[in-house]
Symmetry: C2
Subunit: 453 residues, 2 copies
């Protein structure tokens, strides 16, 4: 009996997690991954830190090389191959070898679409102009690094203020560039409550970033002096030597749509918790797909690395006869912006209201360490709490000490359906270098519990 074939479109977190998982469960399965770029299984989240120089080598961002997949795990990796058409009835994918321009017909028994997300490029942003970049993939990252080294840009304009925009602002400021940033709203993609987003805005300003809020970038051209001239939607103009377009991402669901697969939230591929799409034996995972949201108890589109890895594993389990469900995500995320850490989990106030919760927002400031201990900094915490029950629906934090792991306590509490009254009684470990006796998490829960009562 010929072995079954598992074909994967996309060779990053979701795709290669699925491949690795499937291989561990089935040594016989034929596994093949198509990747249109020159790298698979790389740490996309590390790109800003390679640009900044904190990570020295681009290769450091590669988790597993194509050779390791092929030789050690027997997973065929076709680099520079772009899937061009999916034919679910024929169980066939048509792909183009981008190096030879040759078309291939690749049959499958099970297909996983893990095509990722693509940067949203506002109309008028001409990516063909030298010095205009998006942040995507290691190939483009190398080009950006080389551009900076060769052209020594003095000023950069970052279009968009999401995670990637913020992290690139820090990275480029660290290289000595004068950083300008323009974003549509103070909250934009992070969708943070204003108490937290104000801290980000202050941190950007304190670090010399010139921030324009309420303006998109509409047009980009080369001025007579050879610099980039960007027209903003508020009528202003910016001059820069480098433009980073980081205005959010959209799911790469075009092939799926053309193949007649159902799309869901924000155009992402509709999946069930086993990562099955509407087409027989076609799965989707990662940034191109929806994901089950634990608090909303329905699918949502919040592309994040941990979700991609997990959905890939679930798909890999299920194509090899397993029956695993994706446990769920809740939009937990953290980012470093210069010295500030901003983090979130669960629902914001508007999200909670949109989902039908009668929710309240509670804002608490506390010290990160014992009041007398050096290095104690203010932690800003916003909790979103269901009024009737006191149930924690979401949390957001900003601070310069001890934020990154604390948000995860709120994440766990929200996932468990805990009320702030229960959370305020948690027995947390205390020592003066790490927290006050009543940890900021406990303080925020206690203040919330009193307000809700």
């Amino acid at each position: 009996m010929a072995s079954k074939k598992f074909l994967i479109i996309g060779g990053d977190a979701a795709g290669m997690s699925a491949a690795a998982k499937a291989r561990r469960r089935d040594p016989e399965l034929e596994i093949e991954a198509l990747e249109r770029g020159g790298f698979v299984s790389y740490a996309a989240c590390g790109i800003p830190y390679f640009i900044s120089g904190e990570v020295k080598n681009l290769d450091d961002l590669i988790v597993v090389t194509p050779e390791e997949f092929e030789k050690k795990r027997g997973i065929r990796v076709r680099l520079h191959h772009r899937a061009e058409k999916i034919e679910p009835e024929k169980k066939l994918v048509i792909a183009r070898n981008l190096e030879t321009d040759q078309l291939l017909e690749l049959p499958y028994d099970d297909l996983l679409i893990a095509a990722g997300a693509a940067p949203i490029v506002p109309a008028g942003m001409d990516l063909s102009l030298p010095g205009v970049f998006t942040v995507r993939g290691l190939g483009k990252t190398r080009e950006l690094k080389e551009f900076i080294a060769a052209d020594s840009p003095r000023e950069v304009l970052i279009v968009g203020g999401g995670y990637i925009g913020l992290e690139m602002a820090e990275a480029l400021a660290g290289l000595g560039l004068k950083v300008q940033m323009t974003k549509l709203t103070p909250r934009e993609m992070l969708a943070l409550e204003e108490e937290v987003s104000e801290e980000i805005i202050r941190e950007l300003s304190d670090n010399g970033v010139e921030l324009t809020i309420g303006a998109g970038a509409e047009k980009i051209e080369r001025d007579p002096a050879g610099r980039l001239k960007i027209a903003l939607s508020n009528g202003e103009e910016r001059i820069a030597d480098l433009v980073i377009v980081a205005a959010g991402v959209r799911p790469e669901s075009g092939l799926a749509r053309q193949a007649g697969l159902e799309l869901g939230e924000k155009g992402a591929i509709k999946v069930d918790r086993r990562q099955r799409t509407s087409a027989d034996r076609v799965y989707a995972a990662g940034d191109c797909a929806e994901a089950y949201h634990r608090i909303l108890k329905r699918n949502a589109y919040i592309p994040l690395a941990l979700t991609a890895n997990r959905q890939g594993r679930v798909a890999g389990t299920n194509v090899t006869g397993g029956e695993e469900e994706f446990a769920g995500m809740q939009g937990s995320a953290v980012t470093r912006v210069f010295e500030l850490t901003a983090a979130r989990t669960g629902l914001g106030l508007k999200e909670a209201a949109d989902a039908g919760f009668d929710a309240e927002k509670v804002y608490v400031k506390s010290n990160s360490r014992a009041h007398y201990f050096p290095g104690s900094r203010t932690i800003h915490t916003v909790l979103i709490v269901e009024q009737k029950t006191g149930r924690l629906l979401g949390a957001q934090m900003a601070g310069r000490d001890g934020v990154a792991q604390r948000i995860n306590l709120f994440a766990l509490a929200a996932a468990q359906g805990m009320s702030v009254s229960e959370l305020k009684d948690a027995d947390l470990a205390y020592a003066p270098p790490f927290s006050p006796v009543f940890d900021p998490v406990l303080q925020a829960a206690e203040v919330s519990a009193k307000k809700i009562r």
Copy 2:
């Protein structure tokens, strides 16, 4: 009608938390606190950091002054007053004014015993010798600081390796003293699993601490050269200019015992979850009392600051007509030992077995940050898991990056009765400066889930 009187023995965390809580709930109540030392409401946990110089002024460790209690809150504070007898039938406490030697009869309607814990002083440790200290209270702390300044001791012997011993080792090494430490077992008071205690031992050794394991201190005397000579139980001898006796603590329950109150775990005052003792309208809270243990579902004696504060509040609520129960503790604790952080929550393997759990220990090493990110260090995690159910019973961690807040995720999971299978699916926030995609907490839970299955 004359107002009721709430008398409190002991003016630190538990006692003054009770006083403050009672005052907030009842503006009329007469509240009086007896404190045999010269300070109330101070941060005992900060003492090592005053000795090290990280905390500059002793006053910085004072949370609320006696004057503030008296003038702002109408709480009478009698400093230098030692309770000498409790007469529950007469609702009377006899106290001695240590400055005038005068005896006072103090009647009460409700009494709280919050006398704290006393250092265990092994026989042969002569505290009257200059240069021999325990760590207790701000008065003694000032004496120790002055002794160090005046006598410039070159070598110190620390007797005992619990939190205080470890923190004092770090503090005194930081001042340039050569540190020797002797302790009975590798685990001793922290009762850590060996995978974690070995990291502490390595850290002590890497920082020049000469550690003797398996020996107590039996005798101390001044040698002919005027230095302190300490005989160890293994027959060896140590020479030092300073001796810190930090061999654990015992509950200050003598007065309660004499008054006929029932004692419980390890001689601590027996209390119910409302902090009531066996005597009518006599409460106990803090380091002199037992505390309800969430995982064991019975009382235990694990004196810690957060528990003391909370039990005090519960007592203060209940003496003012409330009906509050102490929610419980689970022995969550963290300590910094030079660059290492060690932390625990819940049960160790032996504790779990003693409590009748069929438990397994799982040890996992992981990186604190993305593998390519600078500053990533190894985190050592030990999970104690119930075999049958996979329920998390306890966790211990050691590492040089990101341990202090992570232990609290395990604390919350154990308190919630979560299984490691549930915990491994938690949606935690990820960014390369703070964690790998799969956080050490998730990795430890996942490895445990596989082992248990």
